[in-house]
C-alpha cells in the first residue's frame, strides 16, 4: 500500500506551490487562490496523520473546520477585492496603498 511519506510529500509540494503563488501574484484574486492551495496542503497532512496514527477522528474533524474557515475567508477576501475594485478600479496589490502614509 501507499506509505505515509508519499502523502506528506504531496502536501509539501502543494504547500510550496501555494507559497510561490502567494508571494508572486500581482492580483489579489491570485493570492487568494494560492492561499486555498496552502490550506489544502494542511488538510492533506491532517487527514494523513489521522489515518496512520490513532483511531480518534480528531484530524478529520479539524480538516472539516479548516474547510469551513477557508470558505469564510474566501468569501470575505473576494468581497473585499470587489469593494476595493469598486472604489479604486484596480485589483493589483501594489496599487492598494492608501493605508500607507
Amino acid at each position: 500500500m501507499i506509505p505515509q511519506n508519499h502523502f506528506l510529500i504531496l502536501g509539501a509540494v502543494l504547500f510550496a506551490m501555494g507559497l510561490y503563488g502567494a508571494l508572486t501574484r500581482r492580483t489579489a484574486i491570485g493570492i487568494l487562490m494560492s492561499i486555498e492551495l496552502i490550506l489544502n496542503a494542511a488538510n492533506i497532512n491532517l487527514i494523513t496523520f489521522n489515518k496512520f496514527i490513532g483511531s480518534e477522528a480528531l484530524g478529520q474533524v479539524f480538516a472539516l473546520f479548516v474547510m469551513a474557515i477557508a470558505a469564510a475567508s474566501a468569501v470575505i477576501g473576494l468581497v473585499l477585492v470587489i469593494a476595493v475594485y469598486r472604489n479604486m478600479k484596480t485589483i493589483f496589490t501594489e496599487k492598494m496603498n492608501i493605508l500607507k502614509w
Partner: protein
C-alpha cells in the same frame, strides 16, 4: 484494508487479471501527479480565468487523494465546498472585476525568482525532514483511519461546541460579506 469506493474500483479491475495493489498504487500516483500539475497551473498560468479552472481540477484531484486516506466524507465535502462553492466565487469575482483576463497583463511581480528559490528551499527542507523522520506510524497495510461513524460521533459529542462556533463564524462571514459588498454606500 481499503475503503468502499477504491475497493469497488479495484474489484472491477481485478476481474480483468490486474493485481489489486498495483492498480490502487498506480491510480494514487496518477492522481497525486495531476494535483501537482494543476497546482503548478494555478500559480504559473497567465490567464487568471484558466488559473481558476486549474484550481478546480487541482481541488478535485485532492478530493481523490482523500479517498485513498479513508476519508470519504471529506472527499465529498471537498467537492461540494471547494469545487462547488469557492471556485464558483472565484470565477464570479474574476468576471466582476474588468480586464484582468488579458494575457498582456503581467501576473507575477518582480520577486518571482527570489520567491521560487525560497519555495524550492522550503520544499527541499520539508522533503528532507519527511524522508528522514522516524514516523511513529502504523503499518500502511493495516491503517484504516477513523471511519465515517467515528467522525460523526466526534462531531456531535466531543467537538460539538467548536462545530457550533464554525456555524457562528460562517454566519458572521455571510453578514460581513453583505455589509462590505453592498453598493452605493456613500
Amino acid at each position: 484494508m481499503m475503503n468502499g469506493l477504491i475497493r469497488q474500483l479495484s474489484d472491477i479491475v481485478n476481474n480483468y487479471g490486474l493485481p489489486q495493489d498495483f492498480v490502487v498504487q498506480a491510480s494514487f500516483y496518477v492522481i497525486a501527479g495531476l494535483a501537482c500539475v494543476f497546482a503548478f497551473g494555478v500559480v504559473a498560468m497567465r490567464n487568471i480565468f484558466h488559473c481558476a479552472v486549474s484550481l478546480a481540477l487541482c481541488l478535485f484531484c485532492v478530493a481523490g487523494v482523500y479517498l485513498f486516506l479513508n476519508a470519504e466524507f471529506l472527499a465529498i465535502a471537498q467537492v461540494l465546498i471547494y469545487v462547488g462553492a469557492i471556485v464558483t466565487l472565484f470565477i464570479f469575482a474574476i468576471m466582476l472585476t474588468a480586464n484582468i483576463e488579458d494575457r498582456s497583463i503581467r501576473q507575477a511581480n518582480r520577486q518571482a525568482l527570489v520567491s521560487a528559490v525560497v519555495a524550492a528551499a522550503i520544499l527541499s527542507f520539508f522533503i528532507f525532514i519527511i524522508i528522514g523522520a522516524p514516523w511513529k506510524a502504523s503499518d500502511a497495510a493495516v491503517a484504516t483511519g477513523p471511519g465515517l461513524e467515528n467522525l460523526g460521533r466526534a462531531l456531535m459529542s466531543v467537538y460539538a461546541l467548536p462545530f457550533e462556533f464554525i456555524s457562528l463564524i460562517l454566519l458572521a462571514a455571510l453578514v460581513g460579506a453583505i455589509v462590505i459588498g453592498k453598493a452605493g454606500r456613500r
